[in-house]
Symmetry: D3
Subunit: 300 residues, 6 copies
């Protein structure tokens, strides 16, 4: 369970309130790269953790910390909204600055929240629970977490570039530092779980003997132009998981032409779909047979 | 630009149609772990690629392949829906099997699509464009891709376990193999970009000297219980990115109590918020001062 | 900021795991009546609180408690999923029970979360940040909170009726008790703020002299049938806020027929909309004039 | 403005309540093919109508009627839920029928609405305002309306097939009849606006001389397989709008390889994207030049 | 399956990058009128096509082409973002232009994508899979496609008006031309399927004898004002489908007053709903009887 | 069923069209505080009403009135868009005003609706059906309605402050007056149902003897800082519902540490989760036992 005190994890100071920057900060609160997502993601991973308990414990630690980050950012939004315009009256005609500010603000900061943060992104699109990833596979979850902290840190550095308010820059420097740690933290779990050779392919509990051979380490090229395809680490050498050899394979259809039954009467397609289907299907069946024999046979 | 033929990349065969399994397959089409997401994700990353062109080229290759995977799965859904019940009539009272099947189906496979796949997940929740991640940072994107292929492969192996239809198992074995390759492929890019020491912290173009010191390699523990915190790779040793030393730090507030201005009149808070605010704010200000001095001062 | 320990606020015990009940519990986690909503709602209200600090403090207390409730419910979901079927194989044909269970489960509990809770409702629809209400008006927010705890307690009692698992009934009895308190708690704030006469109409800081007279305490009846309209407390007597007298008023149009300009050329309506508009508009203008004089004049 | 009486537009009778059919009916209420959508769509088209007033008037008529259809369907949902199970207790273990029914129901009909209709589809996915199409172009809107009434009538006939309840079949027979009329009604507007030759291409107010020649009546084929492409009405003859001649054109790239600038420093891509970009761009530039000259030049 | 080359279908050139226009272009990518929608719509219609195979083949052709249109627009977005401001620093106070530009941009083009296109509309609202219509009825689908290409072409002409960048105007002229063809193409299928008399009412496979008589060709007027209702093509003459005669009918209730059972105890309504219901229901029942007899009887 | 005339409920006049204000008004149409929500909410509550019929009748009255409010606001949006810019051409470079206006507008008012209202909020986020609350519990619904009218009136007063257009101020004064009435109206129902002592805790049909004792009137404090917790009405005195005594209780865990089973093989967690789980679980079990005995036992 959870506890709180009334203080912030780190200083949140705004020297020159900027309502347009308040809108930008919303991305770090309710956006897909934001703190609500990581807070709930680590929490749900913890609450559903099956396997070694120490990972559950660690996820709870950091999930709880992220709640404090939402708090800091929400405070920063409110402080950036101090003194924001609430009117389009006379001034709107006279002073284009007000217009520009209003254009750059989230109008719902005035209309809906009364100058406070909301659970939305920088375009006012609400936080969406589908972003909370907890797959039940620890390694997949760790990659989801590294990814969240990577796009999160990219976002934070862009916000840092965007402002010259010393208080905001300081707060963001703290959050950037925490993202550095959190990237490392989830990578540390991946190292404990066996590193690249140990964890991949994720899930490592599925027998690779069941995979369709020749396709699990082949780079399939769908390119049909005339230029040469520049190779890379992914077209030659040992695979990164140490379990195969990379090679390049030109895309080619092995599956033949798909053939669906005509519509059922109760589904009320057009009559023409049912009548014409009969005729055509014979033709198709023939075509399909040709197509399959023409396309070079089955994959095994 | 893009081209097509009329054949499938790999065989899609359904021996015993199962409309409830059709619903399950929708997760691999329109779910967050599904193929529409990776198709569009690799495409958008390619179309917005800035930097070495070979990564753009590679992203296009695999994005194009994923479109063929949506096609395979959509075909599999349609084939699993052959012969599905379209009625709750008399049979519903008599035969509970029909009820069970209808209960397990996506009703929109009957009502909305006429026995065909849709751009939704296994609960009928529509595909959402917010899942398409392209951050402009190549390393962050590669982690987004490894994560997508990891949760995608976990999903595919669960679908493989769920069915004993030989055709479906074969198709899934192909898709599982491709996910193996794609995990390796994005990891290969990360290796090319410098590996763990080279790419982290992402973005590696932000000067770490700007990070708040002491927090970028500290595991912050918010735990206040009496048990000991079991350490892990993330509490000691060199950081995974090779740029710091892990250490544990007990969570403590450095930010003082936040203080917002009273509401502006035009925002029409309750009168009591404005009047009482004045009085209370004095008190708060004092409290805040105490809190800050009590909490141990500023972070540096 | 926030802290945690590793224990639950209250016992969560499942005697007979039931994967269909796990799905039902999701409504109390990620549904609009659920705990993520109230947790974030109280938090955002606290973080944006302007006015008396004691309300901010209290909101933080209860927001933090709600996080512990999400934890309890997420644990209950995971426990109800122990032993859930993961397969539609042979058994599906033979044993309709498995089908019924699978039909009653959230398939994503198998496919996406590996038998754990998710940030979705009982239909798998993701939690949506738009539900997090913090208006900046303390009284409006308190009603949002009473409403959330009322629909929340209704939901919890329905879940309580649905199960006969003693562990689940006990956990729900705890949550129902907390909802009782929380309803009372927010009502207590409304009492402190002045009760019905003091807080209404919300916001009480807008001068009622600006309201269009005769309409602020009139029950407008749009009914045009032949039966009599049964009165109620809302058609007679003093208004609940003590500032007016209820009376009934038959709906009648005071606004005349609306008239829009023809489309601008750059908006590319059909040509006919532009040509015909000219002709017709004259007619409309006349009609409008008639309509306005016919409808009984302006409201003052 | 709007008025009501307390009676339904047409009889709604349920002989054998079926809670699973209640769920099916939700598709016709809150689904994309449903009545909330057409109600709001016709209303918003009316309220924003620019041009001949008679179309505004007509849209209001039918929008108002659709509100009565939502009412009928909502009543039908409530009646189908009479006697629905509210429990998974003992019976769940003993009687699989209850399980099947619960599996086929929308659980939120029990948990959230207390046995009443909701503004959601048959999977519990909420109605979405993005479906309400009003483009400002009358002809485009009429097609949106024909489309809505076509998918709506398809849905209604599928629901009709699904039930053998005489009351429900009767109600659906009424709604199907109304959809027949509404398809005809919007087509009648299209006839008034000039028919196929008059309204197309929509918008007909854009000068076709500005279109890139040779592409406005060409069927572009992206097929690269070996079979012959079966022609159709769309590959030969006068175009349907009477303004061109259909012909077939093999897809070929005219646009060269796209070339984006390297990332800006403040966007914090990886360092390698910036460094390597410089080197590679030279190469690309050359390649692009080659590609453009190789691809056959500009379209005119 | 699918293939690609590295070149664009048509030239994409931006002479004067305009980050606000980049935002506008997003509507044509991820908006409901945009290219992701048509691409997936034609694909899903093809993959689920039952009936004559030539329609499947044709849908694949155009679905594949639309993918190339997304690519063109995504490239156009990236090019319009070259040189966009990334900062609100000093300049924000001094130079209102930057503010105006930032206000007009999608902030996520800076924060989330690093100056590249995203799968969202011009307000940053994500693409939604519910827009992908494939009903299983070929004629309904063709109308969905005509509608998509009509609103799509309206959008493209508005974008064309909005810009004076010659490169952008040229690209849009190409897309407008393609929309012209695609409108004609889907109409051509409708002609093949029998034209207005043949395809309507959609679905044409439902026996019209089952429709409630007198309502399938009646224009129902809900208007109760004093003006005369101006007729139109839809109030007289043969119906457009050739199967009936239009006529006008004043709206009147045929369904009586609905009557629901009192709440079940397990649903935990308020006690007063259960008690009072008993009393009132008697009254209601009487009223209902009166209402039905008063409202003129049943519809047949 | 429903009827209409062609006139507005109240005058809608715009003296100086302002396209940015048009965007603001969208919040009152399609936002969570807006009129589509209350219209559908009262309608769905009426259509699902079980219990005294007079509440159903009343809900229909006001639901019908709200439809007229959407109409007024939609008209106001269209009128504010008269003369709005449709172009970013030359002027954009020269005249920053156009840029400011375009930045402040909803671009979809140009691109998607052709200068008319849409079913979206002020950020273009679509109306969402999940906001339509009808719980089946009359008292809970009345609170949902008071809350909707409270946030709705707060919104309307903010819009009133924002504009100095006399026509718009007049229209808003009317809507504000109606919100005053509607707040009072739903409160009047709550008074009829028994007032605070009668209706709470909602639902009042659940036996409070089933609640976990000591927690239904306890204010639980999760605060662990050093300051004193300022009491309030909610920490002492009779509870507002008259059924208990408020008291303060320090948060303490009663539930022990949760313990989940190891992952099932078919869920394909990582191998390490399964192996390590076995070892660790022994330890955990011991810890849990200690934790439970240490945390002070069960709640009763």
């Amino acid at each position: 369970m959870f506890y709180h005190d009334r203080e912030l994890q780190y200083k949140v100071r705004v020297d020159k309130p900027n309502p347009a920057f308040a809108r930008m900060l919303q991305q770090a609160i309710g956006g897909i790269e934001g703190e609500i997502r990581v807070c709930l993601q680590y929490m749900f991973q913890a609450w559903g953790a099956r396997g070694p308990v120490k990972y559950r414990d660690m996820l709870l630690e950091t999930g709880t910390e992220e709640m404090a980050h939402i708090e800091m950012l929400a405070t920063a939004v409110a402080l950036n909204l101090e003194g924001a315009p609430t009117s389009m009256q006379d001034e709107f005609a006279k002073d284009k600055v007000v217009g520009a500010v209003l254009g750059g603000m989230d109008p719902r900061h005035i209309l809906s929240s009364g100058m406070a943060a909301m659970a939305v992104d920088s375009n006012g699109v609400p936080f969406n629970g589908s972003w909370v990833v907890g797959s039940g596979n620890l390694a997949a979850d760790m990659y989801a977490n590294v990814m969240a902290e990577s796009t999160g840190r990219v976002l934070a550095t862009r916000l840092w570039e965007m402002t010259d308010d010393p208080g905001m820059k300081d707060m963001l420097s703290f959050l950037i530092a925490r993202d550095t740690m959190h990237q490392n933290q989830w990578l540390a779990v991946l190292e404990e779980l066996g590193g690249l050779h140990g964890v991949h392919p994720i899930p490592n509990s599925f027998p690779q003997s069941e995979e369709v051979k020749d396709f699990n380490y082949a780079f399939v090229s769908t390119y049909i132009g005339n230029q040469t395809t520049e190779g890379g680490r992914w077209t030659q050498g040992n695979s990164i998981d140490g379990k195969g050899e990379f090679h390049l394979k030109k895309a080619a259809p092995l599956g033949g032409e798909p053939k669906l039954a005509p519509p059922v009467p109760e589904g009320h397609a057009q009559k023409e779909q049912m009548t014409m289907a009969d005729t055509v299907i014979g033709t198709v069946a023939d075509k399909v047979k040709g197509a399959i024999s023409g396309s070079g046979g089955s994959p095994e």
